[in-house]
């Protein structure tokens, strides 16, 4: 399928869905509204709400707060994950001792921690950052741990035979291997940073996209809820696109899934 055809079809699906939504929420079918606007709003209302947000500029503040929380959660969670991942992978005894606790904390649905974090860190951004960290940390931690553990024994033996000392092994073998694993899960961990931020905001905040959605829901403003979701989806897609760019730059050495070998 050519690129143009694909794009056309993709756009058509979107238009069809919005058109169906518009028709069923505006015109009754056999005397009955299939998508009552009270529960489903209408595309026009949602669009005008989004435009109003951007026109008045209120949305920027909320976007900025959510972005900030996501970035902090990602950076701090990743740093912790890398540190502990390396530490555990190089110290099998420590890893064995902590293993049940790591599993226990990871098994816990992180949402239940949100009230605690709100109590500890208040309604500001840091309670959301903390929630995001608990999500990001484990993804990065498991990947880095695996990356250090799964270094090919042959590559390792080769590195030793080429005269590498411990420090050089770390820099030239373990670190790149761990990074390749971490970057392969970059989409997931960045996604979770955003999830942590939005869920945290939803459960109690003074600003952010999650707060915006929660506020609209509180006054039965369905158009507001949908508009919030739309902005959030667009926000995530933009971030995901940026991650893809970073990934392409950093993992040039890896074979692409469909590699056109020269």
């Amino acid at each position: 399928m050519s690129r143009v055809t694909l794009l056309t079809l993709q756009v058509l699906v979107g238009i069809a869905a919005i058109a169906a939504w518009y028709v069923f929420s505006t015109y009754p079918v056999f005397g009955k509204m299939l998508l009552p606007p009270f529960f489903f709003s209408t595309p026009v209302d949602v669009a005008s709400q989004v435009i109003a947000w951007f026109a008045s500029g209120v949305i920027w503040k909320h976007l900025w707060v959510t972005l900030q929380e996501s970035i902090y959660a990602f950076v701090l969670g990743s740093a912790g994950g890398i540190l502990v991942g390396f530490w555990f992978a190089r110290q099998p005894i420590t890893a064995a001792v902590f293993d049940p606790y790591v599993k226990m904390v990871n098994a816990l649905p992180r949402v239940v921690l949100a009230p605690i974090f709100t109590l500890w860190f208040g309604l500001g951004i840091w309670s959301k950052v903390a929630l995001g960290i608990t999500l990001v940390f484990f993804i990065v931690f498991f990947n880095v741990y695996q990356g250090v553990k799964e270094v090919s024994p042959t590559v390792l033996a080769n590195a030793r035979m080429l005269g590498m000392n411990e420090r050089q092994l770390m820099r030239h073998v373990y670190w790149p291997s761990a990074m390749s694993w971490m970057f392969s899960s970059l989409h997931t961990s960045v996604g979770f940073a955003v999830v942590g931020a939005v869920v945290g905001e939803y459960l109690g905040a003074a600003a952010g996209l999650g707060y915006l959605i929660q506020q609209a829901e509180g006054v039965f403003d369905v158009a507001g809820v949908f508009a919030g979701m739309l902005v959030l989806a667009a926000f995530v897609i933009v971030i995901d696109f940026l991650v893809t760019l970073v990934e392409r730059r950093l993992l040039v050495w890896r074979p692409a899934p469909a590699d056109n070998r020269p």
Binding site: S152, T154, V155, A157, N158, A159, R160, M161, L162, G163, M164, N165, Q168, H172, V173, P176, S177, S180, V252, W253, R254, P255, D259, R261, P262
Partner: protein, 278 residues
């Protein structure tokens, strides 16, 4: 000793690699340790090219790992140039059977790394690596990552990676095993060509008898494992420089091949029988 006979008088006293009554054993969960190699004695003189041939799983690679210092013998002793091996053998370069290049480094970086770890600044190591890439016929491939290279090209990079450090001893573990027949022949000629310039001591493990005879000065045969031992040692009286495809037409080559194969065949059959019985 062929051409090596003209070497210094103490060459005999200090072999490049000397394995003396080496026993390799692995600990198993219960009971007696598993004996992989039983009392193997093997000397490689400086400048000598020795091939070890044996059936699959006979412990050929294990002997190589002992010479490299990656493995410690259960009993017996191993020394390089008269000094017992403790820790890694710093005088040896090792070409592995499996892919051992760093996948996150370009071909050039892969070759240069062996110098950089020894403290050579990158500005000096890179041009020398480029020179080595040219010598193995990959001058234009320096910026490629390993996954962009073919199996044969990766082996060439591996060869350059090892040789740039100018090791006194070259250990090779079925280095051309995964390659197709034509590429193997080309790689064999390349290896002989590079080797002929400074004649390092080489210990070359292979399961391909023809390859072993065509390349080496001496062919050593091992019996089927477990508890495999060295059961034959042949000198290869073929003149150098050799071309692998031509040398295989030489009547001397055929005679030697027949002799060695006669002995080796029994071991290969035994090896299969054990593998099936297990």
């Amino acid at each position: 000793m062929g051409e090596g006979a003209a070497a210094s008088p103490q060459a005999h006293a200090a072999q490049a690699v000397a394995l003396n009554e080496v026993v390799v054993a692995f600990r198993v969960a219960r009971g007696q340790p598993f004996i992989a190699v039983e009392r193997a004695t093997l000397n490689v003189a400086d400048g000598e090219f020795v091939a070890i041939v044996g059936p699959t799983g006979c412990g050929k690679s294990t002997l190589l790992n002992i010479a490299a210092g990656l493995l410690t013998p259960y009993a017996g002793s191993a020394s390089v140039f008269g000094a017992p091996i403790t820790g890694l053998n710093r005088q040896a370069g090792y070409l592995f059977q499996a892919d051992a290049l760093f996948p996150w480094k370009t071909a050039l970086e892969n070759v240069a790394i062996g110098l950089e770890t020894a403290g050579t600044p990158a500005s000096e190591a890179r041009p020398r690596a480029q020179e080595w890439l040219k010598r193995v016929g990959l001058g234009a491939f320096g910026d490629r990552y390993p996954h962009m290279l073919s199996g044969g090209q990766r082996k060439r990079v591996g060869l350059a990676q090892v040789l740039i450090r100018d090791p006194k001893i070259l250990l090779m573990d079925e280095p051309f095993g995964p390659l197709d027949a034509q590429t193997r022949q080309i790689m064999g000629n390349l290896l002989l060509d590079l080797w002929s310039t400074d004649r390092k001591a080489v210990l070359f493990v292979t399961h391909d008898l023809e390859e072993a005879i065509a390349l080496s000065d001496r062919v050593v045969i091992m019996s089927a494992g477990p508890g495999s031992r060295i059961i034959g040692d042949w000198r290869v009286p073929l003149a150098r420089p050799r071309d692998i495809s031509e040398v295989k037409l030489d009547p001397v080559f055929h005679e030697l091949h027949r002799d060695i194969w006669h002995k080796l065949k029994a071991e290969v059959v035994k090896g299969y029988a054990q593998a099936e019985g297990a």
